[in-house]
Symmetry: C2
Subunit: 220 residues, 2 copies
DNA sequence: GAAAATGTCAACGTCAACGTTGATGATGTA
DNA sequence: TACATCATCAACGTTGACGTTGACATTTTC
């Protein structure tokens, strides 16, 4: 908002002009920040932590970035848009049954979580603390998109129930919470490159969701 | 006698002596704090918020409570112990098969989440931000108990797999993350008294976990 | 009804994190 | 050589939240 200091002017000129080295260092800072946000939470992460992790003085960080919020916003930004875009692509494909759309969006999401790691996990982790209370335009926008995406998912589930591919005795909302609870909880334990891939996890979860975990009637 | 109005000394004397009104107000503060911790997160909640919600001056809160941390610790304390105790009770019952123990602990946990609302949800929400980084004795203790509890659950699942009651093609750890992902994610949407009860939710989730969500082969 | 205990708060000192300033040496560029 | 831009940081001012102090009313106790 109050962007009149000397350093912020220099930063803006620099950002406008571009400069490969400059952008690279900025990207590195973003990456480091995202990692720390995930590990310690946004509030608990100090700019000093970020600076130290990058081997810079705290003041130098401000040469690349306007504020802690800016780091946070850029970390999270785009993640939701990507998710919504993916969902819309599946809506457009009228060939698919709802259950298949649901499956695809589910797997796509998990893979996206993995690809954008740790950005998406920061989003999952922080939305309540940050966005839940705040009244800023940015926060409202994020909330709105979250709700939008939620409606799409719920729609898939309702449709799948109507088409006889999901049980009717469990409310759609609850089924959604079960399925995406499994998915979102991954932010507490999933680490890319360790153990199973995102795709494998998603497919196992999908299998549990649709077929369950109990041994079926012993089919050889 | 009147040892100068050293607040913390007065608080300690008061707490030692007891006093019904005093304890009641203290409990009310705890309740309010827990609610705010859940809504805004521990870090983002100021003592001023708590004081205002209680209709007191910020300084008055210190007559009942030593610090923000104390409120937090007391909010969370006991929850884990209760959970572990419940799990041990089920271990002691040698009559039960592992799958049944798992079912019971699952339902018990969800009911406990509901009963202790919002304390347990604060624990779920904050453990990373608070406990993950801190090195205090308290934090270490909580971490240790969390791991303990986790081991018990994992044991139940491994046993259930060995006894042929759960699929072998999905690793125990993953099954655990699926099941308790559904459960723990409730902290984002479940509100006691609204919609289904904790028990109903737990049973529906258990049904999904064991039987799945797909319509079986149309059994009339 | 005086003395003591109780609950309350206005005001204060302290500290940690934020974001800014102004200057410095380094690196190009004429 | 002279000059300009660059990346960096020591030091600063500011803010917001913490926890404490000391005194003031109100109630309790003797």
């Amino acid at each position: 908002m109050t962007e009149q200091s000397n350093i912020s002017r220099r930063r803006r000129t620099k950002q406008a002009k571009g400069g490969a080295d400059y952008e690279a260092k900025r990207a590195e800072l973003l990456k480091i920040a995202a990692q720390l946000f995930k590990e310690q939470g946004f509030q608990a992460t100090r700019l000093l932590d970020i600076a130290q992790a990058a081997g810079l003085d705290r003041a130098t960080v401000y040469y690349y970035v306007g504020s802690k919020e800016e780091l946070f916003h850029e970390t999270v930004e785009g993640v939701l848009d990507a998710n919504i875009a993916a969902a819309h692509a599946l809506i457009a494909d009228t060939e698919l049954k709802a259950i298949e759309r649901l499956r695809q969006i589910f797997v796509t999401l998990m893979v996206s979580y993995e690809d954008n790691y740790p950005a998406t996990f920061v989003y999952i982790q922080e939305q309540m603390h940050q966005v839940g209370t705040e009244e800023t335009v940015w926060a409202q926008e994020i909330m709105k998109k979250t709700r939008q995406f939620d409606q799409i998912l719920l729609g898939f589930i309702r449709e799948a129930v109507a088409q006889g591919d999901l049980r009717e005795d469990i409310p759609a909302r609850l089924a959604e919470n079960a399925l995406f609870g499994m998915l979102n909880w991954t932010h507490r334990w999933f680490v890319p490159g360790k153990g199973m891939s995102g795709k494998e996890v998603a497919e196992a979860f999908w299998s549990i969701f649709t077929s369950g975990m109990a041994h079926a009637s012993v089919p050889a």
